[in-house]
Subunit: 157 residues, 2 copies
Amino acid sequence: MPSPVKVEHINPFLSATIETFKSMLRTQITPGKIILIKGAKLSYDISGIIGLSGGARGTVTLSFPRITALKAVSEFIGEKVVTMDDTVKDAIGELTNIVAGSAKKDLAQYKINISLPSVITGENHKVLGGKEVIPLVVPFSSPLGDFNLIVSFISET
Amino acid sequence: MPSPVKVEHINPFLSATIETFKSMLRTQITPGKIILIKGAKLSYDISGIIGLSGGARGTVTLSFPRITALKAVSEFIGEKVVTMDDTVKDAIGELTNIVAGSAKKDLAQYKINISLPSVITGENHKVLGGKEVIPLVVPFSSPLGDFNLIVSFISET
């Protein structure tokens, strides 16, 4: 049976998400209780996913309901967006990229490189892990709405 | 404007997918014409995504309609599966892992490492790239049904 991601491996991603929303979106976000993916509300409308590899392997995902995504991207680009177009897709990919890049600095001992982002769209899709590890989910609340951070992480060392 | 992935970077993933289906699923699959993601049929029911990083960055995705996924996983595990359960999710993640690992060998000059897989479920979701590059899509046909290989790849060197 796969084990859940260790909580000490979640913290750099959690801090990176808080910092990114603070600096890039001028928005204070509040983490809820970290939960196993099996107990999480997992249906989203848009998700940004980045792979992590090197001395550790993992993925980091930011998953948003439509309304939160539109508000977050409006803050991010400084312009009101109301439809789920390429601007929103690119911005969600970029936000995920910034969070992964920022977390990477706090995980320097693992010599992680980050992949290109993938962006998933589609009402009520779910982002799950493979069989290697049980991802952990951090549900965030914010003035822009709720969203989730999902992290898979295995140290190879 | 982002450029499309170079065709020479697609070929190792294309060959790896054909070889994996041949060796693991005893199934001959046939690639169609490589297309830009914007012209592709992009709605799927389950997708396996792996990130690539190191001397190049990218992602490799295998995206399946439900019926193709069930038939492919039945061949893969040697047991008939009829519902989209954890077995199917794990198997699609594993298949994507094998394809990425196999393609990596043909891209040795880029010193690529592969991330953990993410598996997306949800009717008619789409898997898109970020703003860095326009992913290429290889539509495959097979006795198990149709499915798509989607590749993003940027050489950093």
